[in-house]
Symmetry: C2
Subunit: 367 residues, 2 copies
């Protein structure tokens, strides 16, 4: 019995082979650059995929919320880092987790550092997040006053331990010149390392975005990389040049509920609550909410002529179909959609089905 | 103890008073027009809110998936209608539900009608969905050939019972002239009713969108209305003129994790996995992913000067803040965000907290 026989409603498929190859490729790259890979599990949010990762020498992970940290705690990780400016309201929950799991957090202001120093019950590491131009979050790279204020608070605490500097060059998703961004990243982290490593000889520097980690070959003296999306990739990463379509490891299986041959449209059950609403806009101005692939017993095949989801609402996906696709498909069939942003799709779906029909866990789901 | 003391991470607040007032207002309007209100529960997805609705003479509901129908089945509804082109792969599941709950489905093609006629084990009603210009889904209003093909299949079945015509004028979300769209809707449904009611004297016509049901006063001879979003409303509906800000019944409570006074920015834990990524774009070109309100022990207050979420990623929300807001807020506080699209936010959050700190269920969550 094929996995396809088990699908009657939108289901997120996971190709274990592709996923493992993605992890191995990034782990090999990190090793080649003498860096430690600390993957960001906001994408997979899965203990099963965590276990696969351990086979490629992954020993520590990153998450983006305390809730996610709680989910992955106690699964044999040397450390779990919460790469989100720490929310002081969650110190009691952090105390609970840190009693049984080595943890680190991310700091960008003195207020939170002070509250942690006052209220922590167990040793917790921290990275200072640095903003070198992305502008979303972080201490500005030249704001030594703030960096030293945080370090001083930690120095007077027996619980809060400085680990190093963390930089997420998230503008690699929007700006074309990744090598230029990476020069900025390398320079910022290298400057900070040299400025503070006489006082903190074990301090680490870490950078994180998937496009950068995928395409760059010069990481300078950065110690660690923490990409997330690479474990699955998606059409946004294909568009950015981080990977090929063949590297996308997840695919939303969607039932065909109507076909309008004259309009060249196929209506599927697969909308914003399944795929999320991330979108690519083509040069022609056409919106693309996901690309159609053909499912078979062994997985999916990428077609030469592309069909894509042109519009989406809560449960509806409307595909602009090629003639080739229209000829093959009938109501009651199941198509595959490669998502635009796999992190959001995985979070929306809350679980995966592998190509042998087994379910794989996801933190936010009820699987 | 206030509900606020229970919040440490992103939490979807529900103001029961506002929600009940929204239900009552629409129920009164339907009664005034001698129409039946059959609310679309894709928005609330809640049995608790279902129970509130029953107090306003709501006896039937609409849902958008078989999964949702399963969740609401057996809760005392006279009928549950699945307002999504029926997916034939789910006939076995429909048979299970229809054994204990009166159900109806939506049809737009003969293939699915035939499969239902062959495989149904219990009586199930159906509406034919009509497209009168929206273009997402439905039988074109003038395609009598297809309408009659579906009716003929049903006539030869002892299980498939024709109930009437359903029309969702979803373009009311994009096009400014709702009265013009409604003329189209009224005319289409009226024409079909008169054409088929000698043969089907009990046939019903139903229309559904919230903007139309909220602002229109002329429904012609339409029998039923099935809006969904009105139960909560949101900033998109405020923008469309369907309601006032004071009518929005849900609000995402988000912890403040950083403040950059110089940039007038506040960083909160509240991103795409909480709010979803629906966006309003202002005349100034600025993006708005949600509007800030101030929380207090009794709910929230709307400020005169507006602050809003200007950018969003998976977990981060970055607020463009007024001076007034910056003066009041500190790290560790909790702000409220009125969502752009409450259906998507509710689905992402999977549960609600009322202002007395109680949890309210949502189908897609694990509450």
């Amino acid at each position: 019995m094929s996995y396809l026989d088990k699908i009657t409603s939108p289901t997120l498929l996971l190709d274990e082979k592709i996923c493992r190859a993605n992890i191995k490729r990034m782990a090999d790259k990190a090793a080649r650059h003498d860096m430690k890979l600390v993957p960001h599990f906001k994408t997979a949010q899965s203990n099963q995929i965590g276990d696969w990762s351990k086979e490629y020498n992954i020993t520590e992970i990153t998450v983006s919320s305390v809730k996610m940290a709680e989910y992955h705690a106690g699964q044999g990780w040397v450390n779990i880092h919460i790469a989100f400016p720490f929310n002081p309201l969650e110190i009691p929950k952090l105390n609970e987790i840190a009693a049984r799991q080595s943890m680190s957090v991310q700091l960008i202001n003195a207020d939170t550092a002070r509250m942690l120093a006052d209220q922590l019950e167990h040793t917790v590491g921290f990275f200072i997040e640095i903003d070198a131009g992305y502008g979303r979050t972080g201490v500005e790279v030249s704001d030594f006053g703030l960096i030293e204020e945080i370090l001083l608070i930690a120095k007077n605490s027996d619980k809060l331990k400085f680990k190093g500097f963390y930089l997420h060059a998230g503008h690699s998703y929007y700006m074309p010149d990744i090598p230029e961004l990476y020069e900025q990243t390398r320079n910022a982290l290298s400057m900070l390392k040299h400025k503070y490593n006489s006082e903190y000889p074990h301090l680490l520097t870490r950078t994180g975005d998937t496009p950068g980690c995928a395409v760059m070959e010069d990481f300078g003296d950065i110690d660690e990389m923490g990409p997330g999306n690479f474990v699955f990739y998606d059409m946004m990463q294909v568009d950015l040049g981080s990977c090929d379509r063949e590297d996308v490891a997840v695919c939303l299986a969607v039932p065909v509920v109507d076909i309008k041959k004259d309009k060249k449209e196929i209506l599927v059950h697969g909308g914003g609550v399944h795929l999320a609403k991330d979108v690519l806009v083509g040069e022609n101005g056409l919106k693309n909410f996901g690309e159609v692939v053909l499912l078979n017993e062994n997985g999916w095949t990428i077609t030469e002529q592309k069909s894509f989801v042109k519009s989406i609402s809560q449960e509806h996906g409307l595909i602009k179909a090629t003639d080739e696709l229209l000829e093959q498909v009938k109501v009651g069939d199941i198509l595959g959609i490669l998502p635009i942003h796999s992190c959001m799709t995985a979070d929306a779906m809350g679980g995966y089905m592998t190509l042998d029909g087994k379910m794989v866990d996801h933190a936010e789901g009820c699987v």
